[in-house]
Symmetry: C2
Subunit: 203 residues, 2 copies
DNA sequence: CTAGATATAGGACGATTGTCCTAATGCAGG
DNA sequence: CCTGCATTAGGACAATCGTCCTATATCTAG
């Protein structure tokens, strides 16, 4: 019983360290030796917890899926207004601004890397995007956007990704903040346009 | 004389093959053996043309810089209208749609990878972004956007990057086309708003 | 206290990495 | 034809990769 907990503890520490290293240096560039020295255990000891390096990747992705789901659920409970929840999503860019400028978005960069490696776990990484996508779609749907909810969700998901890429490439905090403001303004425009019955404003 | 041309020919073939492989599989994941077999030469023969793998990366980036500059210059000559030139940029997403869905944007993915590797050439890769950024800023400036030209350039640069990331993650061609349409509509709105002296439209 | 399962450390393994060396080849100018 | 330079092929090199094996340590159950 107790050793089971110990084992899980070590296993979780491995996953946690691998999660961070995969984010900071990429999956391919992170070796077993790197993870081992980060956790403080022996290299050969890995295979009592994971059969292969891909198994660690799977566990890392599952950990990210669980953490993300938990975060989104929290937002769904606390934030009363769907629009405010969407704004919470947009502001991840600012909250994690320092990390993003250094290492990019954890979701986008992993997805890109796995695509280039032709890795089997690419679809699992895409599931992380789907988590955000579905959550955003639900918020837009509650705001009354109906069939347009999914494309609106994809839109700000894409905007966020682009901001992360450029903020990382140029290490530009001002750009990041400005684009966050633009995204919030875009959201307000969408909501404002929702109550307007005719299209006279655009014409 | 002639052997010099031969040598350069081999050198260029190496750079060309490395360019493609770096794009399709990433810099780190591409080995000398991969490039050698792609070019059809011996592995040890590399070091008559390049001192190190990083040297190949530098040459690949310079090749991309030159090709990009050439493409942008061509657009600057042929396209009469700055707005039409910007639309040409936006439509890269569609022209290269198949490759982007498979491997992402060559500029963005390289920049992200080099950031994670803490690679010295990261700033060189960012220079590729700067090339597009300056060109776009010039087009917006000619349209009369003045001080706002740079942020508008960064905006559609970021939008393009985000679209590339998601189109790659979901392998979604419909999303790609829809977002291209949105970007063109956004451009039209910006230009339309430019001629309006007051802000009554937004109010 | 003992037996057995589990966790760990440390090293061996074949393969592959980037890098370097050397011998052979091809071709130019004298 | 010969000499010299540029180009090439092929392998050696140490380091590192992911993986696996085995002996030791740790801890629980009986």
């Amino acid at each position: 019983m107790i050793d089971r907990e110990m084992a899980l503890e070590t296993r979780d520490r491995i996953i946690e360290a691998a999660d961070l290293l995969f984010y900071q240096h990429g999956f391919e560039a992170t070796s077993f030796a790197d993870i081992a020295s980060a956790v403080g255990i022996s290299r050969g000891n890995f295979y009592h917890h994971f059969k292969t390096k891909d198994d660690i990747l799977d566990s890392v992705i599952n950990r990210r899926l669980a953490n993300t789901e938990q975060m989104l659920d929290r937002w769904e409970v606390t934030g009363s207004d769907p629009a405010e929840r969407i704004r919470s999503f947009i502001h991840i860019l600012i909250v994690n601004g320092e990390k993003i400028r250094k290492f990019g978005c954890p979701v986008g960069t992993l997805s890109s890397e796995l695509a280039k490696l032709n890795h089997a776990a690419k679809s699992d990484a895409a599931a992380l995007f789907t988590l955000f996508r579905s959550w955003l779609r639900r918020q837009f749907d509650r705001l009354g956007f109906g069939d347009r909810s999914d494309e609106l969700a994809m839109h700000i998901l894409g905007r966020s990704q682009g901001v992360a890429i450029l903020a990382n490439a140029f290490d530009d905090d001002g750009f990041l903040h400005h684009e966050v403001d633009l995204m919030c303004a875009w959201l307000d425009d969408q909501i404002a346009g929702l109550t307007t019955t005719n299209n006279s404003i655009r014409e």
